[in-house]
């Protein structure tokens, strides 16, 4: 079993890149791999708590919470959050906040890195 790091920088709604990343993480975890997810740029929107589910909008939030329960590590860029007004207490439980050096360190420890830029 290996370790996969996924970095995502795309928007929460509309791009579907976050849906993709979370689905890929789920498939990898179900096969026994270790997965790290790094959220930066616009993707930090996924770390915000209290997202409302609309059938018209992407809602990877639900699957993400399940995966955190199964061991997925999620880290969200601290400055990206702060610049967007997302405070530490606004974040979904289980999502950590750190700076990019942690992403790079995790990447260096990983067998595979999939870095997804802006949509």
């Amino acid at each position: 079993m290996g370790m996969l790091s996924i970095g995502v920088f795309s928007s929460l709604v509309g791009s579907m890149d976050l849906d993709f990343a979370v689905r890929l993480a789920r498939a990898a975890i179900n096969k026994g791999h270790t997965v790290n997810l790094w959220l930066s740029g616009n993707a930090t929107a996924l770390s915000k708590d209290k997202q409302k589910e609309f059938k018209d909008y992407s809602f990877p939030d639900k699957t993400l919470r399940e995966l955190i329960g199964k061991g997925l590590t999620v880290v969200s860029c601290e400055a990206c959050n702060q610049s967007r007004g997302i405070q530490k207490e606004d974040m979904t439980e289980g999502i950590n906040r750190a700076s990019m050096d942690l992403y790079l360190a995790k990447a260096a420890q990983s067998d595979r890195v999939l870095h997804i830029g802006v949509e």
């Binding site: 970095g7 920088f9 930066s40 740029g41 616009n42 700076s99 990019m100 050096d101 942690l102 992403y103 790079l104 360190a105 995790k106 990447a107 260096a108 420890q109 990983s110 067998d111 890195v113 870095h115 830029g117 802006v118």
Partner: protein, 135 residues
């Protein structure tokens, strides 16, 4: 298995339209502090290709115009910290950017300069690095 700590940052988008190029630079710059997490530092290489080479044009006055630190400033910091920085020759020629228009950081005492190389050399770097991040 050892660390896969050679990471290549490939910037393919022009500046000031998406956050990607700036995030590439801030990520690459943070390589120096990864040693607080792992045994060895991450060793970054940065390459500009396609329209991404427009990040390398000097005299970006984003601070005067919009109050925002320029990508130029980050590239200068990168050069001052000795990060290997490549720009694709074919692309600067295609877009007509002369070499003297490229950012340099000699005023900060940097020895490192942006190296103009053919795409093939960037491809070779991709082979030599452990992980790739396209921005």
């Amino acid at each position: 298995m050892g660390l896969k700590n050679k990471i290549m940052f490939v910037v393919q988008r022009p500046p000031y339209k998406s956050e990607d190029p700036k995030l590439a630079l801030t990520h690459a710059l943070s390589s120096g502090v990864t040693s607080i997490h792992i045994d060895e530092e991450v060793v970054p290489t940065v390459a500009f290709i396609g329209d991404g080479i427009l990040n390398c044009v000097r005299d970006q006055k984003s601070m005067e115009a919009y109050g925002i630190i320029s990508n130029e400033r980050h590239i200068k910091n990168m050069l001052a910290t000795d990060t290997k920085t490549l720009v694709c020759k074919e692309d600067i020629e295609r877009l007509g950017i002369k070499e003297e228009r490229l950012i340099d950081a000699s005023d900060m005492g940097a020895d490192m300069t942006i190296k103009v190389v053919p795409f093939n050399e960037i491809l070779k770097e991709m082979e030599e690095n452990d992980h790739l991040m396209f921005f």
